[in-house]
């Protein structure tokens, strides 16, 4: 029973005692904020730790063209990362975009084939990178005799990034309003022309966002590359073994003699990933605002 004032009189009313309920609510709310804080704090800790330990060692000697066992330059690793990324995307983007076009524009929704494609794309996305490493080694390096090379690594990574690009292309295409297609058909354009000239350009930002995310992923991939592209410290041609930045970081850490330089490599890797993420979400954001 609680006493309240009502129209100038003291009135007793029955109010359910909810003190415990309120306390419980507060604890739950507190736990939510605590978790959010832990999430944000963890990211800040990782980024700050790597930047603070690594930035002082981003010296010019780390970017010298010639790698020696003294300067442990990452120049070759940066170039190898670029060629690895470019080559992987060269394989993955056309296949992913074309496949996405098929799923969004041509396929009969709900057909058995479409279901199978969806399930296998999901499966590909879920396969761990160490399995890709085994596959790349058995298929490209050994069976197709490409050897441990940039090409073997790029083909392996192309399969890894394929589901991301395929999925994102399909979703971006499906988000394009039907009226665009109808308008194009109405003006006499065929299916292919409508798809390529009208629908695809509208969906382009979404596809681009996926490509940027893939770049981040390829630059960060390590496990799948060690036995496909190898760990050689040189500017590698397509048929040669060469390490990318992330493999360089792993090797430096394992050797243990150049920990500070390893931090510097980690900084560069972080910058690439942050940049690609930011660009990707910027483009995706612009897309949603336009839509």
């Amino acid at each position: 029973m609680t006493t309240i004032e009502y129209k100038g009189q003291q009135v007793d009313i029955a109010v359910p005692t909810r003190k415990r309920l309120y306390l419980g609510s507060k604890i739950l709310k507190f736990l939510c904020w605590l978790s959010g804080l832990i999430t944000v704090g963890t990211l800040l800790l990782i980024v700050a730790y790597i930047l603070i330990r690594g930035i002082p060692f981003l010296k010019p000697s780390m970017f010298e063209v010639r790698y020696t066992s003294k300067n442990v330059s990452m120049f070759h690793a940066i170039i190898n990362t670029l060629s690895m990324t470019g080559l992987s995307l060269l394989f993955a983007v056309p296949v992913g975009v074309f496949g996405g076009i098929y799923l969004a524009e041509y396929a009969k929704p709900g057909s058995k084939l479409v279901k199978l494609i969806r399930v296998t794309a999901e499966t590909l996305a879920g396969i761990p990178s160490i399995i890709y490493a085994l596959f790349g080694m058995l298929a490209f390096v050994v069976t197709l005799k490409m050897g441990i090379s940039i090409l073997s690594g790029a083909l392996t990574l192309a399969i890894m990034t394929l589901p991301l690009i395929l999925r994102q292309t399909e979703e971006s295409l499906l988000a394009v309003p039907m009226s665009y297609r109808e308008g194009s058909f109405g003006l006499g354009a065929g299916k292919l022309r409508t798809t390529v000239r009208i629908v695809l350009p509208v969906a382009m930002p979404g596809i681009l966002a996926a490509v940027l995310l893939s770049i981040g992923r390829i630059s960060g991939e390590t496990a799948a590359l060690i036995y496909t592209a190898g760990t050689a410290t040189r500017l590698a041609g397509l048929a040669e073994s060469g390490r990318t930045l992330s493999v360089h970081l792993y090797q430096l850490q394992q050797e243990g003699r150049f920990i500070n330089e390893a931090f510097a490599v980690a900084v560069v890797l972080l910058i690439i990933v942050v940049l690609m993420n930011a660009l990707s979400s910027f483009i995706a954001h612009k897309l949603t605002r336009k839509g």
């Binding site: 609510s25 160490i130 490493a133």
Partner: protein
């Protein structure tokens, strides 16, 4: 052109088929030379003596995955609840890129962070070498956070507003409504996020190899080292030959089957959710 589009879409099917075929063709012959029971249930891994028991690694993989889930699931789900129902818009605007960035950081950078900061910290606080189940679990817990948060947040946002309003109208507090009405309604989505996180944790290699010590022994307490299935493949593939090499590919097959089973579970839960 239609044919080209169709062919591109079918590359996924082809890829899964080829990957399975290559793994099975190269991995299964091992079982004709070495009994599968001894391989999977054997507690000793001594390639030099041709003894290949991967039970310690199977247990190790489950050990670190369980640890990751114990840490990542509560923090991830509560963070998702915060983002979906408690935080104001500016806070959510900060949290979203944070979560995306956590997902984007390469596993080798996580591993490097773990071995440089967490391992010494555990070594000085609890003793031992520091390379342990504990550090591997913490690291994996962080790594599966974004997966759990993103899936759970989407599931929470998809719950109809009327559930919440109905609960409020019955006299529940805001928090009570969120936890008693919305959270149960979003449960299937949250669980599928957890399953996805488990899949990621079991398949992770680089971060674990750098912080887990990698001894092929049965994992002891959480301050002892551990070797997972993934690490087993990556560590020894470089110099393995003959039967040893085949045993590593067979390890990959076992891992592949576990991951496929988890994926299947995920799509099963998802399908049931869609039907509901």
């Amino acid at each position: 052109m239609r044919g080209l589009f169709l062919a591109s879409a079918c590359v996924c099917i082809l890829a899964v088929g080829t990957i399975s075929a290559f793994l099975l063709i190269n991995g299964l012959p091992f079982f004709t030379k070495y009994p599968a029971g001894q391989f999977i249930l054997g507690a000793e891994w001594a390639p030099l003596r041709d003894v290949f028991g991967i039970l310690p690694m199977i247990v190790g993989s489950f050990y670190v995955t369980l640890g990751a889930l114990l840490l990542g699931a509560p923090i991830g789900i509560l963070t998702a609840i915060l983002m979906s129902r408690f935080a104001s818009r500016p806070v959510v605007k900060i949290m979203k890129p944070v979560v995306a960035l956590l997902a984007g950081i390469p596993s080798v950078v996580y591993g490097f962070f773990g071995v440089m900061l967490l391992v010494p910290f555990v070594r000085e606080t609890f003793g031992g070498t520091g390379k342990s189940v504990l550090v591997a679990s913490i690291l994996l817990g962080i790594m599966i956070l974004p997966t759990i948060i993103q899936t759970a947040e989407a599931a929470l946002n998809a719950v109809p507003q009327s559930y919440y309003e109905g609960s409020l109208a019955l006299g529940a507090t805001h928090e009570g409504s969120v936890f008693r009405a919305i959270l149960p309604a979003a449960r299937p989505g949250i669980i599928s996020g957890l399953v996805l996180g488990i899949g990621r944790a079991i398949g992770e290699t680089m971060a674990i190899i750098m912080v887990a010590g990698n001894n092929p022994r049965m994992p002891g307490d959480i301050l002892k080292g551990v070797r997972t299935l993934t690490v087993n493949v990556l560590m020894e593939m470089g110099y393995a030959a003959d039967l040893h090499r085949e045993s590593l590919i067979a390890t990959g097959v076992v891992l592949f089957i576990i991951v496929m089973a988890i994926n299947f579970l995920f799509s099963f839960i998802n399908r049931r959710r869609v039907q509901q």
